[in-house]
Amino acid sequence: MAFTVFIVDDDAAVVKALSRRLRIKGYETLPYTSPQAFLARHDPNVPGCALLDVAMPGLDGLELQKALTDGGSQRPVIFMTGKGDIPTSVRAMRAGAIDFLTKPVRDEALLEAISRAEKWDSESRQIQAELATIESRMNSLTPREREVLSYVVAGQLNKQIAAVLGTVEQTVKVHRRRAMEKIGARSMVELMQIMQRLQPPFHQAGKPLTRRSIDNP
């Protein structure tokens, strides 16, 4: 599926020009002149990014960004502003914007920001896909395998786990090998890497996955 740029600006001429420009560059574009129309038709599964004007009547860019996030979407956002006031840009960047472009938007800056968003989006989507694979593998574990695995990840030795579970070391070894096979981890290091990407409660020490942590490793 082609990368789609969702363009939202109350100025139709601007939307049209941007749309034309990005299509020439090979992007799919979906132009909107009202934030409400954009929100109503937005499909988060379409890979792409949002190019939002900050100052729009009814719902400004920052509010729109919040609405997207609240809706569970991780759609990367690029802001455009005619004023370029510092407080607004600071707030926008903190909320996770890819970039904050000042109008009149320079062509290079726009394409650069778009390509960055494309990269971010594809990575994000790849991670999401991997996570989905791991999660489905995790779901294939038996409760006993899952239990043993959680102790393994927590760094417990087989002997210790057997003592906690009230079984023998051999049994723990079997569960452990099966679980690792199901998840697809060939070594202990691989297992740890995979497990780290999972959300709690599978590991307490891991950080939650965010775009920022992906973007800036």
């Binding site: 601007v14 020009a17 034309r20 100052a55 005619g82 407080p87 109008k103 009149p104 062509d107």
Partner: protein, 752 residues
């Protein structure tokens, strides 16, 4: 009643005319019945002696009374019989002959005066006027009874009361033992001699009495001169002595009283005043009037026979106080009712009018003196008060750095308070003339000052005065003109040093200018921001389209080189335009904002002070309610002041249509419950309708004819920059309130 009364008055007025007329008609041919018609009454008065005799006073009094009663319409003839001239025996006969002149037209009444006249007329009446009734006067009862006159003779009996006269002497001289009696030798006087003897013998108290009767005058004098002082001398008249020598009436008594050491008493009033003490006497005037009254009765128609002789009614004790004093007689011993005569009149009595006049003049002069003294006293008080008041005034004036002056254009004289000289930088000993003052004024203002001191209108002029140290001061000359228009007027006025006021005005003006400038700059900034946004939109579209177009050109094809160049030019020009906009924005971007701690209350008060002249001009009253313990605010004080000024100016503008009495602006500061600091600006203006309220913060929205519509936008920007909020609440027609809510100790957001 009225016509009757009027008729009577006419008759009474016509009566005399009727009488005169009848006189003409009947006087000639009808003599015989002349009595039947009303003829003027006629009275003949016969005096026994001559005009110099005291008795003549009686006839004078009688004549006066008659003339009064008849209002002059009565005929009165007076004759002096001169009967004392005894030397000529034919005198009486000649006189009688003379009086026959009355026989032709006999009088209605004959009056006699003096006792000698009655026997004369009784003897000769038949020849003179046989039917005329006789009214006598001054006939003693004794004499009357001796004469036995007929019934138509009546009159006033003159009773020389020797008995009462002697009683008076006894009262005054109770210790006297000797009594001397003196009388003349006329027929009447001889009668008196007898009366005197009988009287004295009849008296209770007995004296060693000597009667100096029938003696020559000189011997009487000798006898009297040898008397002791405590003797009593009783005297009747002494007109003729025993030798026949006659004396002008009363001259004898003068000699007697001069010779006698003892007091002399007499019943003759006429002898008083010549050294005689006095006695019980009657006046000839009183007797004359009484006789006239009888004559009047007869003239009125009463018969003389029906009128018995009467006593003179005015008998009384009469004394000469001077004679009493000379003889050392005690006045307190006088019987009650005594008429004291010849009392040395007091200065008061003698010069009554003079005294009264003098007293009046003295009183007036005294009053005048007092009035003058009081006036002088009052004037001095007034002068003192005036002086004090003037000193106070001068002092007050000097304390407020003012001086009073007064100028008279006619004399070109200028009066000033001493402090005025100091105001004009003149030395204290310099002459305070008009020229001196005018020449102290700065050259540029000199004409103004000269006019101010010569105008004919009430003016206020501000002039500059260069002080000796080179410093310039502003002096306000207030002039008030007195008097008629056109004429040279007297001028009064005040000099006031208004340098500080001028400086404050200038400072306030400058501050206002600064704020106004700031407003303009902010407005341009706000404006350019808005414009930039609007222009950047198309610039974005143009640039983006040009880039898109460039990408549409197949790479490496020469035929599109021109197009590529064109699009590149478009992009370049677009960039240039955006650079201009960006440059403009940077240029107008507010200077680095200072964030300092400041006192909101002071800022509010100061802002109102800046607007003071404007508030006065627009007749707006203000009140300030400043909260206590307000936290100091951090931020840009100039911006906050700009905000306050803007909101206050809005409040003032909103009250343009409010009646002046209700124009009021209120500024309040307080700590709110939310921990913020609130400033309220309230007005009593027209307020805002709802739809207006929702749009006031939009740029370019304005309700003012010449407004930019950026004021509240700027205000909003400033408040937001300080992390606060600005709200406008209003009820249409009932004024509006602007509420600024600022976080206490807030830092400028922009400064983070």
């Amino acid at each position: 009643m009225i016509p009757l009364h009027g008729g009577y008055r006419i008759i009474s007025r016509l009566l005399p005319i009727a009488r005169v007329a009848s006189l003409f008609i009947f006087a000639g041919g009808f003599n015989g019945i002349s009595h039947a018609v009303e003829m003027p009454r006629r009275v003949v008065m016969l005096n026994a002696y001559n005009l110099s005799e005291p008795l003549s006073a009686a006839s004078t009094a009688a004549r006066k009374r008659l003339l009064e009663r008849y209002r002059g319409l009565i005929g009165i003839d007076v004759d002096y019989l001169d009967l004392l001239r005894a030397s000529d025996p034919d005198h009486e006969q000649r006189t009688a002959e003379f009086l026959r002149k009355y026989a032709a037209a006999p009088p209605d009444v004959i009056m006699t005066f003096g006792s000698a006249a009655l026997p004369f007329i009784l003897k000769h009446r038949d020849a003179i006027a046989p039917k005329a009734p006789i009214v006598f006067m001054a006939v003693s009862p004794e004499n009357y009874s001796l004469l036995k006159p007929p019934s138509d003779v009546t009159g006033i009996l003159l009773d020389l009361d020797l008995s009462r006269t002697l009683s008076l002497a006894e009262r005054l001289q109770p210790n006297a033992t000797r009594l001397i009696v003196v009388a003349g030798s006329t027929r009447v006087e001889r009668l008196w001699q007898n009366i005197a003897r009988r009287t004295i013998e009849a008296r209770e108290k007995k004296y060693d009495t000597t009667y100096l009767f029938e003696m020559p005058f000189i011997e009487v004098v000798n006898e009297l001169s040898r008397l002791p002082a405590d003797a009593i001398v009783l005297m009747t008249s002494f007109l003729v002595d025993t030798t026949g020598q006659s004396f002008v009436p009363n001259t004898a008594s003068v000699t007697f009283s001069a010779a006698s050491p003892a007091p002399i008493y007499t019943p003759y009033i006429s002898q008083l005043g010549k050294g005689i003490i006095g006695g019980f006497s009657e006046t000839f005037e009183g007797a004359g009037e009484a006789a006239a009254d009888i004559a009047l009765e007869i003239l009125a128609g009463k018969s003389a026979a029906d009128i018995p002789p009467r006593r003179n009614p005015d008998g009384a004790y009469r004394v000469d106080i001077r004679a009493m004093q000379r003889h050392g007689l005690d006045e307190s011993r006088l019987p009650p009712g005594t008429i004291v005569m010849f009392r040395e009149p007091s200065v008061w009595e003698r010069h009554r009018v003079l005294a009264l006049t003098a007293s009046a003049i003295i009183a007036v002069l005294t009053a005048l003196v007092f009035a003058l003294l009081i006036q002088r006293y009052r004037r001095r008080i007034a002068e003192n008060l005036l002086k004090e008041s003037e000193e106070r005034m001068s002092f007050t004036a000097a304390s407020v750095n003012a001086g009073f002056w007064q100028y008279d254009p006619a004399t070109r004289e200028l009066w000033t308070t001493p402090h005025s000289a100091r105001l004009f930088g003149l030395s204290s000993d310099a002459l305070r003339t008009r020229d001196a003052f005018v020449s102290a004024v700065h050259l540029d203002d000199r004409t103004l000052a000269a006019n101010a001191l010569e105008t004919s209108a009430d003016t206020v002029n501000d002039v500059r005065v260069v002080m000796p140290d080179g410093q310039a001061r502003w002096i306000r000359i207030r002039t008030k003109s007195h008097g008629e228009r056109g004429a040279p007027n007297r001028l009064t006025g005040i000099f006031i040093d208004i340098t500080e006021q001028k400086a404050a005005e200038a400072e306030a003006h400058q501050k206002r200018e600064e704020v106004a400038h700031l407003m303009r700059v902010s407005a341009v900034g706000e404006l350019s921001g808005a414009i930039a946004h609007e222009i950047n939109q198309p610039l974005t579209a143009i640039s983006t389209n040009a880039h898109a177009a460039l990408d549409m050109i197949p790479p490496g094809s020469d035929e599109f080189a021109e197009l590529r160049e064109t699009l590149q030019d478009i992009i370049a020009e677009d960039n240039r335009a955006s650079e201009v906009i960006a440059g403009l924005r940077n240029l107008l971007k507010k200077e680095t904002k200072s964030s300092v701690s400041f006192d909101v209350n002071r800022l509010v008060s100061e802002t109102i002070r800046l607007l003071n002249s404007e508030l006065v001009a627009r007749r707006i009253t203000t009140s300030v309610e400043l909260g206590e313990d307000l936290a100091p605010l951090f931020g840009d004080a100039v911006q906050i002041q700009q905000l306050l000024l803007n909101l206050m100016m809005n409040a003032m503008d909103a009250m343009a249509d409010t009646p002046p009495a209700q124009r009021h602006m209120k500024a309040t500061t307080r700590n709110s419950d939310q921990g913020t600091l609130e400033i309220h600006i309230t007005d009593t203006g027209s307020g805002m309708p709802f739809e207006q309220k929702s749009r006031v913060f939009e740029p370019f929205y304005t309700t003012k004819a010449h407004g930019l519509g950026l004021g509240l936008t700027i205000c909003s920007t400033i408040v937001r920059a300080h992390g606060g909020t600005l709200q406008l609440t209003s009820e249409s027609g009932r004024g509006a309130m602007a509420t600024i809510s600022l976080p206490a100790k807030a830092l400028l957001v922009a400064a983070k």
